[in-house]
Structures are given as structure tokens and as C-alpha cells.
């Protein structure tokens, strides 16, 4: 059948024609605003970030220490049991070098982002963050890194209270 069909439907238009208003369109920007309840686990996590610390939850059944923290262990399906501080150091599990900003703008100086397995959390438990004070050529898998915090007065209780992770002195 596929071979028998001569013309497939669809009327293509050029992006440039859309940009220049040559194709009639209706424009809209929705108002879609939210104030998400942060909840038990993440409220504490954000509060501790403001204090310059990273906190995790531990499940006593499987023994895992979980960041970001949650009030449930997804593998054992039970409540997690206790709060545990983990270190603000860790190793690079994987990284990428971005020439694209979040809004798809082209960057001259790339942003380096990584998954960082935190010391004190269970094996493989990491968080996402930026790397800084490092040349892109110097980043390596397994590299030791350490959080660079904003000064206490600038912290707001957000993941951005950590500016980035930089190579740790060995």
C-alpha cells in the first residue's frame, strides 16, 4: 500500500514565512502559573541548602541514602526512616559541554553540566549541577569535585545556592 500511494497529505510552510508573517496565524500566550507545595522532604532539603548543607533520606530496609530526599523508598515501597547529611563533594558520573543556553541561544563560552555522585550517599545516587572553575578539556569521568556555595546572605533555599561544583583538591 505504501508503495501505491503517490501523494501523501500535508501542506508544508517555510519557517521564514511564519517568522515574516506571510502565513496568517493566531497568537496566544497562556497564563499558567503555579505555586507547588514543596512538601515534607523537599522543604527540609531546601532549608538545608540555605544552611550550606545537603540532606538526604535513608531507607533502613535497603540501606540506601537518597538525594534528592523523598519520604518514600521507591524500591522497598515504604516510608524512608531518617535524615542523613551527605557531603558536598563527589565524583563526576557523566558530563556534557553545552554551547546551547536553556533558551536555545548559542553560547560562546560553553556551560559544563554533570551528574555528580555525592560522597556519603549510596553508590550511584547523584544530583545534577553545573561545573565551574575548570577547562572543558580537563573534565574527566570520575573526577573529584566539590560544591562552591553562594555566600550565606545570598542563599534563598534553592538548588542554585550551590553556584557550581569545581574540581576538588586532591
Amino acid at each position: 500500500m505504501s508503495a501505491k500511494i503517490k501523494k501523501y497529505p500535508g501542506e508544508a510552510i517555510k519557517t521564514e514565512d511564519l517568522r515574516k508573517g506571510r502565513v496568517p496565524v493566531i497568537r496566544w500566550k497562556p497564563k499558567a502559573k503555579y505555586a507547588w507545595s514543596v512538601g515534607v522532604a523537599m522543604s527540609r532539603f531546601l532549608k538545608e541548602l540555605k544552611n550550606g548543607r545537603i540532606i538526604a533520606r535513608k531507607c533502613r530496609k535497603c540501606g540506601r541514602i537518597l538525594v534528592p530526599p523523598r519520604m518514600f523508598c521507591e524500591l522497598c515501597f515504604r516510608s524512608t526512616d531518617e535524615w542523613v547529611y551527605v557531603k558536598d563533594t563527589g565524583v563526576v558520573n557523566t558530563y556534557s559541554i553545552s554551547y546551547l543556553a536553556a533558551d536555545a541561544r548559542r553560547l560562546k563560552e560553553p556551560i559544563i553540566v554533570a551528574v555528580i555522585e555525592l560522597d556519603g550517599a549510596s553508590k550511584g545516587i547523584g544530583i545534577f549541577h553545573h561545573l565551574g572553575e575548570v577547562k572543558k578539556e580537563a573534565v574527566k569521568f570520575g573526577m573529584k569535585v566539590k560544591a562552591v556555595w553562594k555566600p550565606p546572605e545570598e542563599r534563598t533555599g534553592a538548588i542554585t545556592d550551590i553556584k557550581y561544583f569545581k574540581p576538588a583538591e586532591v
Binding site: 501542506e11 510552510i13 511564519l18 502565513v23 496568517p24 496565524v25 493566531i26 497568537r27 496566544w28 500566550k29 497562556p30 497564563k31 499558567a32 502559573k33 503555579y34 505555586a35 507547588w36 507545595s37 514543596v38 515534607v40 523537599m42 522543604s43 531546601l46 519520604m71 518514600f72 516510608s79 524512608t80 526512616d81 533555599g157
Partner: protein, 157 residues
């Protein structure tokens, strides 16, 4: 359930955010012709299904009932009757409107369907289901090819 809860109301925390992108919707195949006629000639166009005879206003590319492709265009009347109406007293933010808005489903004469639009030049108390109304267009130079090219429907004798 969680082994810990938040008991102190000061400790409940919210995180603000949004999902607001810009959108640009093409009129589509049927819509493009409809809006062109509305804008340039102040005509209300519909499409007719050859199979079931249904005349769609607003026009469609296809018959939703029998799935025929609709390529027969017909000009519809500017007049119709109020099939149902409502008087809105609040705006989208829930604030009381100074002037209430009268919304109506207007069944256009001799076709199926019609338009959901505003009524004008009438007091809310005088609106009745079954009332005859007519589309009032903006001036040609103000028309942009949108539903707003019709200002509202007004009563006719």
C-alpha cells in the same frame, strides 16, 4: 504514609513557576479560507458534506459524522437565531465586570451550527432564546482575519 509531617504552618513552603510559552496557530486549511472571506468580504462561509448534506458553519475540512472530505463551499447568511445565551458577570480573573457580557450560541440560518459569540446593542433583560440576530462586522480596515472581525451579533426586527 510519611513518617514525618509538617506541623508548623510557617514551615509549609511553595515553589513558584509557570508553563507559559508563546504560541502561533495556523488557521488550517478550512480556517484560512474562512478567515480570508471574513476579512476581505465580510462573508460567513461554510462547507457542505456531499454525503450527508450537513453544512458546517464554522467550516471544516472534513465531516465529523461521515468523514468525507469537504470541498464544496457555501456562503451562509449573516443572520440567525439565539439558540442559547448566558450573561457573564465576572472576568477571567473572577473580578466583577462593570458591563456584563452576553454570550450566545447563534444558529445561522439554513446551515448546521453557527457561532458562539457576543451579543451587542441589547439589554441583557431583553435577550430571549429564539431571538433573531445579525452579525455586526468591524470596518474593513480594522479586520485582521479572526473571530474578532465580527464585533458581536445584534437583534434584528
Amino acid at each position: 504514609m510519611s513518617l514525618e509531617k509538617i506541623g508548623d504552618p510557617h514551615k509549609t513552603k511553595h515553589w513558584m513557576g509557570h508553563m507559559e510559552c508563546d504560541y502561533s496557530y495556523t488557521h488550517g486549511i478550512a480556517g484560512e479560507k474562512f478567515f480570508k472571506e471574513l476579512k476581505e468580504n465580510a462573508r460567513i462561509m461554510g462547507t457542505k458534506c456531499k454525503k450527508c448534506g450537513f453544512i458546517y458553519v464554522l467550516p471544516r475540512l472534513f465531516c465529523e459524522r461521515c468523514f468525507e472530505r469537504l470541498d464544496e463551499w457555501v456562503e451562509a447568511s449573516k443572520r440567525g437565531e439565539v439558540h442559547t445565551y448566558t450573561v457573564a458577570h465576572i472576568d477571567v480573573d473572577g473580578n466583577k465586570l462593570k458591563e456584563p457580557i452576553i454570550w450566545a450560541m447563534v444558529k445561522i440560518d439554513k446551515v448546521h451550527g453557527g457561532m458562539v459569540h457576543r451579543l451587542g446593542e441589547v439589554d441583557p433583560k431583553d435577550v430571549k432564546i429564539g431571538m433573531r440576530v445579525e452579525a455586526v462586522f468591524k470596518d474593513k480596515k480594522e479586520r485582521t482575519g479572526s473571530m474578532l472581525d465580527i464585533k458581536y451579533f445584534k437583534p434584528v426586527g
